[in-house]
Amino acid sequence: MEWALLVQLLVNGLIVGALYGVVAMSFVLIYKASQVVNFAQGEFLLVGAWACWWLITSQQLPFWLAFPVCLAFMTVFGIVLQVVVLRPLIGEPVISVIMATVGLSIFFQALMKWMFGVFAQPFPAIFGADRIELLGLEVKSVYLLSLGLSAVIMLGFWWFFTFSKHGLAMRATAFDQQVAQSLGVSVPRVFAMSWAISAVVSAVAGVVVGVVSGVSSGLSFYGIKVFPAVILGGLDSIVGAMLGGIIVGVLENLAQYVDSQWLNWGNMINIAPFYALILILLIKPYGLFGTKNIERV
């Protein structure tokens, strides 16, 4: 047993898991508000990170300017996607909506590869690569920053849905569209807003990952890791998504540890969450904390 490695991996898992949690939260946000399962969540990270990277390297903008410009772009991007692609599909069967987002996913993956190439591009050094001693562990300061940012985003979500007018309108829409509409909530606007917020939050996560480990098409895999997280945490619970993300992050690093110490199978870090997912669905077909739909005829 190597305790140091184990602890290091657990800390890594926590940090990566917090990012998964942020992405899962924005996934759940879309699902709750507009009942769309977004298979293109990972591409939000990808597009956001590439946009920010392009602004900094190619347009020579400083980071403090490029970042807000990138987020503004992502707001428009999210709204346009919702209006152009998803709005015509309202009322279509689940399979059609899933397929539309799958189509979006491969479209933007290929578009990004076409525009920026297939190789990982490092972000210009923004925060410096200094390491900080923390409880006897070496942690990159960027990681701490990403953990802090995740916490800020979570708090922001909590505030938004508990106190702000728009957040309350969104919750009302998620609860019952007709009732919300009759109370004066503009449902189309809520839909568009949920996509915009989701795109922006995912883009923040994308930029963070990009700063830590470079921008590449691998970013879109975060969108797929979301599924184990939301199945763990329940599709319609934002807190659950957060918890699910952290659990998945820790789980995959634990699997990595077990693999490197005893099994030597390789690739467990990527596959373990999917085994967990299948197991959970076998036992509880609606996820661990998901609400069971009671259907009446």
Binding site: A110, P285, G287
Partner: protein, 352 residues
């Protein structure tokens, strides 16, 4: 079904016939005859494309039975397609003749599909989509790891088709093998949908609660449709293996699975001939993109967009765009468009 006014069916037999009119039967025989003559008329490149359409159509038909007829979604079809390819190559390596290895590969893949179908029987819609996505990654990982089965990273070389000492190793000859399987599988599917089991599948799709109340065993039929879909995927994969003669892990990724779904959606959910049309569309479209890019070679568009080196990405983008555009503008697929065209000529000059 567009029938002339006053043409009523008076027996179940007449109502469930595959070919409702004499003309449709004649058209089918003419079509088969034309395809049999195709190797004489077309070049090698066109034959290769026809072969590709053939095995993709078989696999897409399987997926259509699952998605279009039973209403279960699967984002892992390419994994089963790959399983069939590896299984067939494995049987051939053990000394089984190729002609026998193809149906055997289908059966083995069907068994694997049943195993994955068991948990899927309790799931539907979104949860099923996620579970099959997980299955895709797990199977892909298994292929990469199980060197005894897939040849590992190096891949697996296999033999071409031969029967009674005759080798079918050229596109012109192998085409007949693919055509045979396409006919068998499509007639099989068309007949399946006329049986009690086929109607049960459609009932599960249309309203699974009502179906259950009428005594249809939901878990049984959902698992069964997974098995059937995997059988089709396995046969398609085996035909693919003996066409390419080399099977490697990287081919069966998630993009490939999405391509199958795209075929089904573009062709038309719940339409047997639609699977063929969708497969044809998905095979021909990338070729069209490629020739369009080649036609533009050297022009200002080429230099501005760097077309030559990014053909793969253009193809992927075209696939994604095709899925989205069809879903928005033609959700019932090419099969529906074809029905409209036929009805138009049948009723000409009136519109109804």
């Amino acid at each position: 079904m567009h029938l002339p006014a006053g043409d009523f069916r008076t027996s179940y037999r007449a109502d469930t016939t595959i070919f409702p009119t004499r003309n449709s039967r004649i058209a089918l025989w003419l079509g088969i005859a034309a395809l049999c003559a195709a190797p004489l008329l077309l070049g090698r490149y066109e034959m290769t494309i026809l072969i590709q359409i053939g095995y993709f159509a078989i696999a897409a038909l399987g997926l259509n039975i699952l998605v279009g007829f039973t209403g279960q979604i699967s984002i892992g079809h390419a994994a089963f397609f790959g399983f069939g390819a590896f299984a067939s190559a494995g049987f051939v390596a053990q000394g089984v003749p190729v002609a026998l290895a193809i149906p055997l590969a289908g059966l083995v893949t069907a068994l694997v599909g049943l195993v994955f179908g068991l948990p899927a029987a309790r799931l539907k819609g979104l949860y099923l989509a996620i579970a099959t996505l997980a299955a895709q990654f797990i199977l892909e990982d298994f292929f990469a790891r199980a060197a005894w089965f897939s040849g590992g990273v190096a891949g697996r070389v296999t033999e071409s088709f031969s029967l009674f000492g005759i080798r079918f190793d050229q596109p012109e000859t192998y085409f007949y093998i693919v055509l045979f399987w396409v006919l068998v599988m499509f007639v099989g599917a068309a007949n399946l949908m006329r049986t009690r089991d086929g109607r049960a599948l459609v009932a599960v799709r249309d309203h699974y609660l009502s179906a259950e109340m009428m005594g249809i065993n939901l878990a049984y039929y959902r698992t069964l449709s997974f098995g059937i879909a995997s059988f089709y995927a396995g046969v398609g994969g085996a035909l693919y293996a003996h066409h390419i003669l080399f099977v490697s892990v990287e081919a069966f990724n998630i993009l490939f699975s999405i391509q199958f779904l795209a075929m089904v959606i573009i062709g038309g959910l719940g339409s047997i001939m639609g699977s063929l049309m969708g497969a044809a569309f998905m095979v021909i479209m990338p070729e069209a993109v490629q020739s369009a890019a080649q036609a533009l070679e050297g022009s200002w568009v080429d230099t501005a967009l760097n077309l030559g080196s990014s053909l793969n990405f253009l193809r992927e983008m075209a696939i994604g765009a095709a899925i989205i555009l069809f879903l928005i503008f033609e959700p019932d697929g090419l099969a529906h468009r074809w029905r409209l065209i036929r009805a138009y000529w049948k009723l000409y000059p009136y519109s109804h």
